[in-house]
């Protein structure tokens, strides 16, 4: 895999691969503030945290206690930090009319710029998210000073249609945040990390958008998470070396909307999408 050459006047997106602990909010917040400081010092414009980065992933019924509303004062340190650098933070979001969403919140300029609520809640195998969260009702880009960003949370990205829809909505980049558990299968990296890299690469190349993937690492409740956060450009080239599987790491990746637009001019794949086939298929399966 070749590495894209750095260009002048590029923005930098930081991927904060951290290890969180379920319910230990103070500990998790410290991990955030440390990474924000490092990303800021490195000149990043946006720092992307993994899924449920503030609460930890395996909270289970602990979400009832630890869910946060957007006006919760415990978010103030992050909102304050967002005056210097934009943040995408994961948390269990207490909805005003009941229910808790698995949410990624984009903060910039001291305020919330947008929220993506996880659409696909895996409830199979080791996953039980459908038990604790309500599914997001819609998929839409989030606008901030970096551009028009498509945010997907973990399982959302395993439904390839999600990225296709965001591409049709004209996003400049895809931000995929994950709390991806993994097993070890004898390979040199965790099995799930290998799968993630296939999906991220295919998503970038077929939507012709750069993909920024922030996964968590570490252990929770005996469950291992696979790290290997990574950024890949629309032609499948690494924008940064993948983070190791187990180490808390700040990945710094260049982000150039102009380069992505040029790639789409040369490979206008998304513009050729056959909606007539979608429509026919949807009718055929009765969707």
């Amino acid at each position: 895999m070749g590495k894209a050459a750095p260009r002048a006047a590029e923005q930098v997106i930081a991927l904060a691969q951290i290890a969180t602990c379920p319910g230990q909010l103070r500990h998790n917040l410290e991990r955030h503030m440390e990474m924000v400081a490092r990303a800021s010092a490195a000149g990043a414009r946006l720092v992307v945290f993994p899924e449920l980065s503030l609460s930890g992933y395996l909270l289970a019924h602990g979400v009832l206690e630890h869910a946060l509303a957007l006006d919760d004062t415990r978010l103030n340190p992050l909102l304050q930090a967002s005056r210097e650098i934009a943040l995408l933070v994961g948390l269990p979001l207490r909805e005003p009319h009941g229910g808790i969403s698995n949410a990624a919140v984009l903060m910039e300029g001291g305020e919330v710029r947008g929220v993506h609520r996880k659409l696909y809640l895996p409830t199979y195998g080791m996953f039980d998210e459908g038990r604790y969260f309500i599914p997001g009702p819609r998929l839409a880009p989030i606008e901030c000073s970096l551009g028009r960003l498509g945010v997907l949370i973990c399982e959302d990205a395993w439904h390839l249609s999600s990225a296709v829809m965001l591409a049709q909505d004209g996003v400049d980049a895809l931000l995929v945040v994950a709390g991806g558990p993994t097993e070890l299968d004898g390979g040199d990296e965790p099995a799930a990390s290998r799968r993630w890299h296939w999906i991220m690469g295919a998503t970038a190349v077929t939507t012709v958008r750069p993909v920024f993937f922030a996964n968590r690492c570490g252990w929770e409740e005996g469950i291992l998470f696979g790290g290997c956060s990574w950024a890949v450009d629309p032609r499948g080239r690494s924008l940064a070396e993948p983070a190791p599987a187990h180490e808390e790491t700040l990945v710094l990746a260049p982000f150039s909307p102009g380069a992505a637009a040029r790639a789409r001019t040369l490979a206008p794949i998304p513009y050729a999408e056959r909606f007539d086939l979608w429509r026919a298929a949807l009718e055929r399966v009765g969707a």
Partner: protein, 275 residues
């Protein structure tokens, strides 16, 4: 014949070390207590513990029973020396004899063996209380699946770093971690009575049975498929029988749910305190 998949010992060891470091941090306690039997599982657990949290935070105990072989204590010392651990020896024999007589269990080697395993648990948890520490478990996936353990005895621990690791892979992990050759190479034994070995009791050794367990438990193959794949029928029947018979040991206690707030059913919460 189908085989067990390979293991990447470097990655596995690194991940398990981080698991032990994180569990200790999240618990807020000071260290780990581990019983060194002189066998390979406890040697690997101790080695991982030392790499994870440092030798000064791993408290090793040798807990010889009345019938333990002298080689076991010698090997436990060799493991402690290899990883620079101070080894505290606690004699459980007097207590075991007294209790066994009171219970009338002395003449039954299985009952007496279980009693020894549970007294070791008592000693480890007592030390854990005084440190305060977590008890570092030494059970492996193969023996858990076969039920080859004493309930609330050697299976009792705060954390089980090797509980999802096949015994065949533990031998490889042991070599990679620098466990003394004599410990890796000797036949696994619970050492509860003279001459006891795991293979003698189970009827097969771990490298033989692990692929059967793997392809059944992980691969979803039933008896006929396993036999068709080339595993000897007697081996398959022995392994599957133990697997079914001892499944209750995976979840040692069942709570009768009579409310809508039963722990671990209606209320599943993280184990560690919030800070």
């Amino acid at each position: 014949m189908r085989e067990l998949p390979p293991v990447n010992t470097g990655l596995l060891a690194e991940m398990l070390e981080r698991f032990l470091a994180e569990e200790l941090r999240a618990s807020g306690l000071s260290g780990y207590v581990v019983g060194l039997s002189g066998g390979v599982d406890s040697a690997v657990s101790a080695a991982l513990g030392v790499a994870a949290v440092g030798r000064e935070r791993v408290h090793a105990l040798a807990l010889p029973g009345p019938a333990s072989s002298p080689e076991s204590l010698r090997d436990a010392r060799a493991v402690a020396d290899a990883f620079d651990l101070r080894l505290e020896t606690v004699e459980i024999a007097p207590a075991a004899e007294t209790l066994a007589v009171a219970l009338g269990a002395r003449a039954d080697r299985v009952r007496f063996g279980n009693l020894l395993a549970r007294l070791r648990m008592v000693a480890l948890f007592d030390r854990a209380r005084t440190v305060p520490a977590l008890v570092l478990g030494t059970s492996n996936k193969s023996e858990i699946l076969l039920g080859y353990s004493t309930l609330f005895g050697d299976s009792a621990a705060s954390v089980q770093p090797l509980g999802d690791v096949w015994k065949t892979h533990i031998f490889e992990l042991a070599r990679a971690l620098g466990v003394p050759d004599g410990v890796v190479g000797k036949p696994p034994t619970a050492d509860l009575w003279p001459g006891q070995t795991d293979a003698g009791e189970l009827g097969f050794d771990y490298p033989t049975v692990d692929p059967v367990l793997y392809w059944h438990h992980d691969g979803g193959m039933g008896r006929e498929e396993l036999v068709a794949a080339g595993f000897p029928p007697a081996l398959v029947d022995g392994a599957l029988s133990a697997y079914r018979r001892n499944r209750f040991k995976w979840r040692p206690t069942v709570v009768a749910r009579v409310s809508a707030s039963c722990m671990n059913v209606d209320r599943i919460l993280p184990r560690n305190p919030e800070r």
